[in-house]
């Protein structure tokens, strides 16, 4: 994080609205990616980002260390999104890992819709993996930034993204074959 960004965070924490709006501009896309990763619904994700920003503004003084501002605001977004998801689906996702066969069966029936297939595969990933994927593919962020945003330790993301893509690849094998 450069010192300029640091100063912006500090000013926002101390109640500078302009600084906070600057943060909104530079940061709300990431938040959207996080929320979308969890919810896979754009309208809901947008609402979550909106709520997150208001909540962050109201409780900004709780952040003592400006360094941790991005991780903190991401956590808020994550919790909000998760709350919403839970409200939407009281039962947790019933099966984390469906067998490839069923996915394959599905793909046969809904062959035409690649898009929904990809989403189905994405929705079956663990939450953290989903967020990592959306952050990467929405905003093309480098690994270090994603790690900072999600509060991950240095180097952890590579494993997560690798695993996420691997899982999806295996699940989407037939579809991928059709592309090729």
């Amino acid at each position: 994080m450069d010192s300029n960004e640091h100063a912006t965070f500090r000013a926002a924490i101390q109640g500078d609205r302009d600084a906070f709006e600057m943060i909104i501009r530079s940061f709300s896309r990431n938040l959207f990616a996080i929320a979308y990763g969890i919810l896979q619904n754009r309208e809901e994700a947008e609402d979550v980002v909106q709520d997150t920003l208001v909540k962050a503004w109201k409780s900004r003084w709780r952040v003592r260390d400006p360094e941790k501002f991005p991780a903190w605001i991401s956590t808020i977004a994550r919790h909000r999104a998760r709350d919403l998801a839970r409200r939407r689906r009281p039962e947790p996702l019933p099966h984390d890992f469906e067998s490839t066969e069923t996915v394959a069966a599905k793909t046969e029936t809904e062959n035409a819709d690649l898009d929904s297939e990809v989403h189905a595969a994405l929705s079956q990933l663990p939450e953290l993996h989903r967020m990592a994927v959306t952050l990467r593919y929405f905003e093309e962020l480098d690994y270090a930034t994603i790690e900072r945003t999600l509060g991950l330790t240095n180097g952890a993301l590579r494993g997560i993204l690798g695993r996420a893509l691997g899982l999806m690849r295996r699940r989407l094998k037939p579809a991928l074959a059709s592309i090729a």
Partner: protein, 702 residues
């Protein structure tokens, strides 16, 4: 190589995302060349990457997203007015919070100070000074009590300091005198204790009243040299401090004071000194010796009126001020009346003289004129005398001081009155009573003697006697030897005669000794020690008899005894006896010969305040001699042990059951309460869940 193969997922993604370092990339691509599986995976991953970029990336936030977010944020969190914003921001700052906490603490301390007396003291002193000022004008008698404070102050601070503070206050006093309503706001910077504050207030008013007078006196002198005809009659004025109009007044100031002093001569000397200090003199002094050898007298001192107040203040240091009065008489009118009448008389005189000189024809007329002249001259002289007298009175203020030496009478003699009380215990009350009565002689007078016997046969008696002082000790010790002393008290009183002080030289005389004796029967005395014990023996009756003999031998007396036999053939004999303390241990020793002594309990009542002779004091012993029943003669052997053990075991079991009961009684309410709370909580959560489910169902339907 193998690690690359294992981490293939990770490396594939990182490669596509451009997050591999150069070395990693080289190694990875080298592996791809070798490994067909990985190559295949790489191809898939590429497709996958492409697919994701095509599908998911579409879903990302649109271009206007940020602007939308910002504007919605502005809608939802309206900008608050600057001041409120500032305040809320400030409140959230750690430093501000700390400061606020400190301020709160300080204000609490300050409030505590207000509630507990620190500022209350200040208020009190303020009130005191106000009241002093008010009462000063009226010269109320309370000034005497205030002056004790003045004296205290003077005694513990150097006089110079006091003068300085007085000087400092004079300016303030001037303000007060002109405008008496508001209080002086510039209070002393240092916090002074109450009496001192009162003192300064006192000085303040004193100065306020004297300062203008000083001015007045000066101007008065000047004006009296010139003609004072311009003076107009004025209403009589109080001692208030309005300066100016009093300037050419003729005021006669007089004071009287009554003092109680330790030494008359010393006081007179000091007064003379004070008078000299204040440019005055002692005009008369008289004294008389009183019956008690104390001097009492009167001193009249003349001082300049300006110095009168200071002089009076000094006087207070001499002794206890009992009375003081200050009078001011305005003789202005009288003075100037006399003066103008004298002028007229002078004119008359002149005219008469002229008549004598010019028109001296008729002798009869001449004589008449001569006579008139004589009368006028006489009048003039009288008036001159009057004026002189008034001048002298005005010039000096007379202070009449009544002095009396403190009454510290030395008594002529002391009478030593002795009053003794003696309580006795006697075995035979009547005999002792008679013995005591037999002591009567001219030097031992029996004033009252009585013997009582009530219906239970209890006897008590008392003898009151008066003994000549020289005989008293002998008689008292003889009476003491007749019986056991329960209590002996002597009261001595020294009565001073003809005075109330301490006379070191006065001699002391002994009065007759009053001796009150009460005699009660020994039985009534409470025992010093109570012992109970049991003796097991097979022959109860015989042993009881032996016991009686033993007790007799040790000077003991049997007070009660009983015997009983129960259905099991067990026999009990209870004996209670009383022995003197000195024989107690010997008796206890001898009891061992009767059988096994069991269950000994000893209770001792020490009475530290009584004067009972410990060795003679009675102790009660209650002895139970008993025999075991016939069924089991001796409690030894297997059966007895077994029975004992089982009995004890049962007892222990019962005891533990009881303890469990107690524990349950302790725990039960808590357990009940916890169960109740748990039940309520579960009900609540169930109800909440049900409501939620219901709401969701509604949502689903809609």
């Amino acid at each position: 190589m193998s690690t690359i193969h294992e981490q293939i997922d990770e490396l594939l993604a990182a490669d596509l995302h451009g997050e591999l370092s150069g070395a990693e990339r080289d190694a990875f691509h080298a592996h791809l060349v070798e490994c067909a599986d990985c190559r295949h995976a790489f191809q898939e991953e590429k497709n996958m990457h492409k697919l994701l970029n095509e599908t998911i990336a579409d879903k990302k936030a649109d271009a206007g997203f940020e602007q939308r977010m910002v504007s919605r944020f502005r809608d939802r969190v309206p900008q608050r007015p600057g001041l409120i914003q500032l305040v809320t921001n400030l409140v959230r700052l750690r430093a501000v919070q700390l400061t606020a906490a400190a301020a709160l603490l300080l204000s609490m301390i300050q409030m505590g100070r207000v509630i507990t007396g620190e500022s209350a003291l200040r208020l009190m002193s303020l009130d005191a000074s106000r009241s002093v000022r008010e009462s000063e004008l009226a010269k109320s008698p309370s000034s005497v009590t205030r002056d004790s404070g003045v004296l205290a102050y003077k005694s513990d601070s150097p006089g110079r300091g006091a003068d300085e503070s007085a000087a400092k206050w004079t300016s303030v006093a001037g303000i007060v005198a002109q405008n008496p309503a508001p209080l002086p706001q510039d209070k002393p910077e240092t916090e002074t204790p109450l009496p001192v504050t009162v003192y300064s207030a006192d000085v303040l008013t004193r100065q306020a009243s004297t300062a203008p007078k000083t001015k007045k006196a000066e101007t008065k002198d000047e004006r009296s040299k010139t003609d004072a005809a311009t003076s107009e009659p004025e209403p009589s004025e109080s001692t208030s401090t309005t300066a100016g109009p009093t300037a050419n007044r003729k005021l006669v100031r007089n004071a009287t004071a009554e003092l109680e002093v330790v030494s008359f001569e010393e006081a007179v000397q000091k007064i003379t000194g004070f008078a000299a200090d204040e440019k005055g003199y002692v005009s008369t002094s008289s004294s008389e010796k009183q019956a008690n050898g104390k001097l009492r007298g009167q001193v009249v001192v003349k001082v300049l009126p300006d110095n009168l107040d200071r002089f009076l203040l000094k006087l207070r240091g001499l002794g206890e001020l009992k009375n003081q009065a200050l009078t001011t008489e305005d003789v202005t009118k009288q003075y100037f009346d006399t003066e103008s009448r004298m002028k007229n008389a002078r004119l008359m005189e002149q005219r008469l003289i002229e008549i004598l000189k010019t028109k001296s024809k008729d002798v009869a007329d001449l004589l008449e004129v001569e006579k008139e002249l004589g009368r006028v001259r006489e009048e003039i002289e009288t008036m001159q005398g009057e004026l002189k007298f008034m001048d002298s009175q005005v010039q000096f203020a007379a202070v009449t001081i009544q002095l009396s030496e403190k009454n510290m009478n030395i008594p002529a003699a002391f009478l030593l009155k002795e009053r003794a009380q003696l309580a006795l215990y006697a075995t035979e009350v009547e005999k002792t009573y008679n013995d005591i009565k037999a002591l009567a002689s001219p030097k031992v007078q029996i004033t009252n003697a009585q013997i009582n016997r009530d219906n239970t046969g209890r006897v008590s008696s008392y003898v009151y006697m008066l003994i000549a002082p020289e005989e008293s000790e002998a008689i008292i010790s003889r009476v003491k030897a007749m019986a056991r002393v329960e209590n002996f008290q002597v009261q001595t009183e020294r009565v001073a005669q003809g005075g109330d002080g301490l006379g070191e030289s006065a001699k002391t005389e002994r009065d007759k000794v009053v001796l009150n004796i009460t005699i009660s029967r020994e039985e009534q005395e409470q025992s010093l020690q109570q012992t109970t014990l049991r003796i097991r023996s097979s022959e109860v009756n015989d042993k009881t008899k032996e016991l009686r003999d033993l007790a007799e031998k040790q000077n003991g007396r049997i007070r009660s005894s009983s015997f009983s036999r129960d259905s099991n053939g067990r026999e009990y004999a209870n004996v209670s006896l009383r022995v003197p303390m000195k024989n107690y241990s010997a008796l206890m020793q001898s009891l061992n010969t009767l059988g096994r002594v069991e269950d000994v309990t000893v209770r001792r009542d020490d009475r530290p305040d009584s004067q009972v002779n410990q060795a003679d004091a009675p102790t009660d012993i209650t002895i139970q001699v008993y025999s075991q029943g016939n069924i089991v003669s001796q409690e030894t052997g297997i059966v007895a042990t077994l029975r004992h053990t089982i009995g004890q075991g049962a007892t222990a079991l019962m005891w533990s059951a009881r303890m469990i009961g107690v524990a349950l009684a302790f725990l039960a309410p808590w357990v009940l309460a916890l169960v109740g709370i748990g039940w309520v909580m579960r009900r609540i959560s169930r109800a909440r869940r049900a409501r939620k489910q219901h709401a969701e169902e509604q949502d689903g339907l809609s």
